[in-house]
């Protein structure tokens, strides 16, 4: 037998460039133009929201800057202070362009914060269920089933009704309404991963069960978690808008997108469409772009849909 250390067939099997799974994933993601476009739109929305104080003519939360004289002006009108309201103004005289960007700040904060917190909580609970097994798992998963049998909007509605208004309370309500989705996803994936041979091999190496769950199984569960995370974040944003629209979410003084839409609703029939329609379009654009990204992530991350 030849000395294997100098076997040329062996040395050629490693590609010159070490490609990490992330690099491969990135390359596949940007293959889709729609997803790339949606991601770009979403990033622009985030950028506009973050930069709102520097690129808007008015701070809609500062009552000193809001003049009732400017109420219900159509798009393109000039304001009392002399700047142009490209998207018109609402009933209280807020410049809609400014109000939408400030509203997006709230919507995105609420959506991302509740998404991340719910993800962490749901992930921990789902992993505990998969790790512990037996009775603990049964109890956790029945709670999850119970929770998922109610519509998320109903759970969130009940929570804010009990807690009151405010950004922190909305985030809390959305976390309560959404953690179960993550818990179920993580637990289901972890159950599949647990049966795989690399887990058995890790057991045979004497690695502790805790480490196997968090170090070996969890990273393999990330793909479905990322997908559920994006979709749930989009749904958290629209859920917040729904709650605010119904008047139980955020207060009138801190208008989120939902509040703006609700404000304009009473003027719809009088032809002052812009007060509801422009915030509505902003919400639509945000949610659709996130969902398109999430959809494509699912395609890329699901090995069963691989070409």
């Amino acid at each position: 037998m030849t000395d294997t250390a100098t076997d040329p067939a062996l040395s050629s099997s490693l590609p010159a460039k070490v490609e990490t799974p992330f690099q491969r994933f990135r390359a596949e993601f940007f293959e889709s133009r729609i997803a790339t476009g949606a991601l770009a739109v979403f990033l622009i929305i985030v950028l506009l929201a973050v930069l709102a104080p520097w690129i808007t003519p008015q701070n809609p939360y500062d009552l000193a800057q809001v003049s009732v004289m400017d109420g219900r002006l159509p798009p393109g009108s000039e304001s009392f202070d002399g700047y142009t309201m490209w998207l018109g103004s609402d009933g209280s005289g807020r410049d809609l362009y400014s109000a939408i960007l400030y509203g997006l700040r709230i919507s995105l904060t609420v959506g991302l914060a509740s998404g991340v917190i719910a993800l962490l909580i749901g992930m921990a609970i789902g992993l505990i269920a998969a790790y512990a097994g037996g009775r603990i798992e049964a109890i956790i998963m029945r709670i999850v089933d119970l929770q998922l049998s109610f519509p998320a909007s109903l759970v969130a509605l009940m929570m804010v009704a009990a807690l009151g208004k405010g950004v922190d309370k909305i985030i809390f309500a959305l976390v309560i309404a959404q953690w179960a989705y993550y818990a179920r996803t993580v637990r289901a994936t972890a159950m599949v991963e647990r049966g795989k041979e690399y887990v058995e091999a890790a057991q045979c190496l004497g690695i502790s069960r805790f480490r196997i769950v968090f170090r070996h199984i969890l990273p393999n569960c990330m793909a479905p978690l990322i997908v559920v995370g994006t979709v749930q974040t989009a749904s958290a944003i629209s859920l917040e808008a729904t709650l605010s629209f119904l008047g139980v979410g955020l207060p009138q003084t801190e208008p989120s997108i939902g509040v703006l839409i609700a404000n304009g609703f009473e003027y719809m029939l009088s032809g002052r469409y812009w007060i509801s329609v422009f915030p509505g379009l902003a919400l639509l654009l945000t949610v659709v772009s996130i969902n398109l990204v999430g959809d494509h992530l699912r395609d890329v991350l699901n090995p069963r849909l691989k070409k």
Partner: protein
């Protein structure tokens, strides 16, 4: 030579809804330091379950119901989980069949190897890394530093199995259980892997149980062989004795079904029938219904007996062997 592993009367049963599956039903064997023992049998004969029983990795509804497993003199059958965990990967390692499945796809090779060391020893990460690199060098992997940085999907099947073998040898174990480690590889790579494993056991004095269904592999590798059928060992002895002069009709049948050069042109021997249903084994000899040499005596259950320095579970040994080879 001292016995690293001494298994006596091991019974591992699975309590399923359909009934009790006696996957391992009274297995005895001894493995000495530096020895390679081949554990041969067809699918479902209980050879893998024997391996997992030694590691204490039998999941419910299965459990070890009887017997003793002495590892370096210590009883480890049904030992406490933390004791078993400190042995696994440290004193007893395992190599699996499919190298595509046994490495974690999202962790780099170095992460997985270093972890295997740090699970049992408190050494610095760098020292663990150096040991991993040296281990990869030992199994004939060129430029080990580079391979350590790779993810499993960037390595070929043979390369991954080398990584698995290197990982098994990392903590210089006393015993390695190799569960069909070459079955998923093509023949040229198989030969290389067998060569590496043999070389390493010689160098380190590690004992090895090589589980396989391939007699040709065992013939060139092992010193002793145990043939399993339906949860029991039917024949056990020195490799040359058993391969050249099988006494049990099952062993003889397995050997007779391998094509060889000196029987060119002759029809290969075929063992009749199918693997028995483990839930409904025949009353007498489990191999009885398929045996070409069965007599009335085979209606009773044969016990294991020592003949000519080997163990055998058969009533008509000599006669059996002559008729097929």
């Amino acid at each position: 030579m001292s016995a690293v592993l001494d298994v006596r009367g091991l019974k591992t049963h699975f309590f399923t809804h359909a009934g009790v599956v006696k996957a391992v039903d009274g297995v005895d064997f001894t493995v000495s330091k530096g020895e390679i023992m081949g554990l041969v049998g067809e699918s479902g004969s209980g050879k893998s379950i024997t391996g997992f029983s030694i590691l204490g990795l039998i999941d419910p509804p299965g459990r070890i119901v009887e017997g003793s497993i002495k590892f370096n003199g210590e009883e480890i059958a049904n030992a406490k989980e933390d004791r078993l965990q400190s042995l696994r990967g440290n004193r007893i390692s395992m190599i699996f069949q499919d190298p595509m499945m046994t490495l974690n796809p999202v962790l780099r090779v170095d992460t997985q190897m270093i972890e295997a060391i740090l699970a049992h020893e408190s050494v610095s990460k760098h020292a663990a890394w150096e040991r991993s690199r040296d281990a990869l060098g030992l199994v004939g992997i060129p430029s080990p530093e580079e391979r350590l940085r790779a993810y499993p999907h960037q390595l070929s099947g043979g390369m991954r199995q080398r990584v698995a073998i290197a990982t098994a040898f990392l903590n210089k174990p006393d015993l390695i259980i190799a569960d069909e480690p070459t079955t998923a590889l093509d023949v040229t790579i198989q030969a290389q892997i067998i060569h590496e494993a043999q070389k390493l056991t010689k160098q380190t004095g590690t004992a090895m149980i090589w589980i396989t269904h391939d007699l040709a592999v065992v013939a060139g590798l092992a010193e002793r062989i145990s043939v399993m059928y339906a949860g029991r060992i039917v024949e056990q002895g020195g490799i040359d004795d058993v391969i050249d002069r099988p006494l049990h009709p099952y062993t003889a049948g397995l050997l007779g079904s391998v094509p060889t050069a000196n029987r060119r042109g002759k029809r290969l021997f075929q063992i009749e029938g199918m693997t028995p249903n483990m839930l409904a084994l025949p009353d007498g000899c489990a191999f009885g219904p398929r045996c070409h040499a069965r007599t009335e005596a085979c209606g009773r259950r044969p016990s294991i007996e020592d003949i000519d320095g080997r163990s055998l579970r058969c009533f008509n040994p000599q006669q059996a062997a002559e008729s097929v080879i």
